[in-house]
Amino acid sequence: MVPYLYGIGFLILTVFFYFISKKLYSIIPSPFTLPIIITSLSIIIFLYLFDIPYSVYMYGGQWINHFLGPLVVALALPLYRQRYLIKKYALVIFTGILTGSFIGVLSGVLLTLSLGFGESVIAAVAPKSVTTPVALSITDATGGSMSLAAIFVMIAGISGAMFAPMMWRAGRVNHPVAKGLGIGTASHAIGTAKALEDSELAGAVSALSMTISAVLVSLIAPLVLKILF
């Protein structure tokens, strides 16, 4: 009974912090005030202050986790809405996303390997370029640490949102489709929000890139890890 009450309490707390963070983000929008960051940080501070172990917080957290898999399924809807774009730019889209997905997994894995980290860390880095629910599914399947994976996904999202314009200038990239492909493949939903600032077309291409790259990375990451270990 007691775990149940704790669970309900933490569930309410999480939802409460999330909606406050959303409010804050609407006042100060920046990659550092994203609701996921502010909410998680507030809860971490809360747990720290009251000396509550993570496992106790998870009495409530585990219920929320049940939505992670079904959320991946939900991504079919935005992809379906972009189907005309896929048709129009088919070759560019598939070449770009396939290249980017491979480079993302390989460079992440090789850099981490060269730093001397073990399999559970490397498996958590491998899917960092894809949207959180998919990265967690992949990491769960490959035996990596899911919480580390969530952090790496966030790093990929924020660094992309901050430095993509610099990369585009360096490569003299002007076409909104090219921009959307790059940022969507590397930085998922956080990147897509940034792409929308560039143009509606870049945002739409970024949204479909993040879903297609999620499918590709879910094939590539386990394969690369299998070859390595």
Binding site: V73, A74, S147, V215
Partner: protein
């Protein structure tokens, strides 16, 4: 009230596809996650209009809009990795950062070149 029941049914559909995907994954022993298989199945049923977009969209859009809420518990788990990041672990953050910039640069660059070529033809 009717609206809430609709939304609950639409969201349950996602759970059904998810478990179907997990089932297919375990039976066929695939390395691709069951959730992705469920997503692809759902996508095909949308494309073929077996499931029309309008009968499922409001519940799913509602869920997608607040998707980050569902990542909070896993992210809070980083609390168990503080020592890791205080040490050598912080180097991986740099690795993830560099790898991300590399992906944006190469993908956008290659796509840009291909688009220029297509425009020339």
């Amino acid at each position: 009230m009717k609206k809430i029941i609709y939304i609950l049914l639409q969201i349950s559909l996602l759970f059904i596809f998810y478990h179907l995907g997990e089932y297919i994954q375990s039976v066929l022993n695939l390395t691709i996650p069951g959730s992705i298989i469920g997503m692809l199945l759902f996508f095909v049923l949308l494309l073929t209009n077996i499931i029309p977009e309008r009968i499922i969209s409001n519940g799913i859009d509602l869920l997608i809009k607040d998707m980050p809420l569902f990542f909070v518990p896993v992210t809070v788990g980083v609390i168990e990795f503080f020592d890791f990041f205080r040490g050598k672990g912080s180097l991986i953050l740099l690795a993830a950062f560099l790898s991300t910039l590399l992906v944006i640069f190469t993908t956008s660059f290659i796509a840009g070149k291909l688009l220029e070529k297509e425009a020339d033809i």
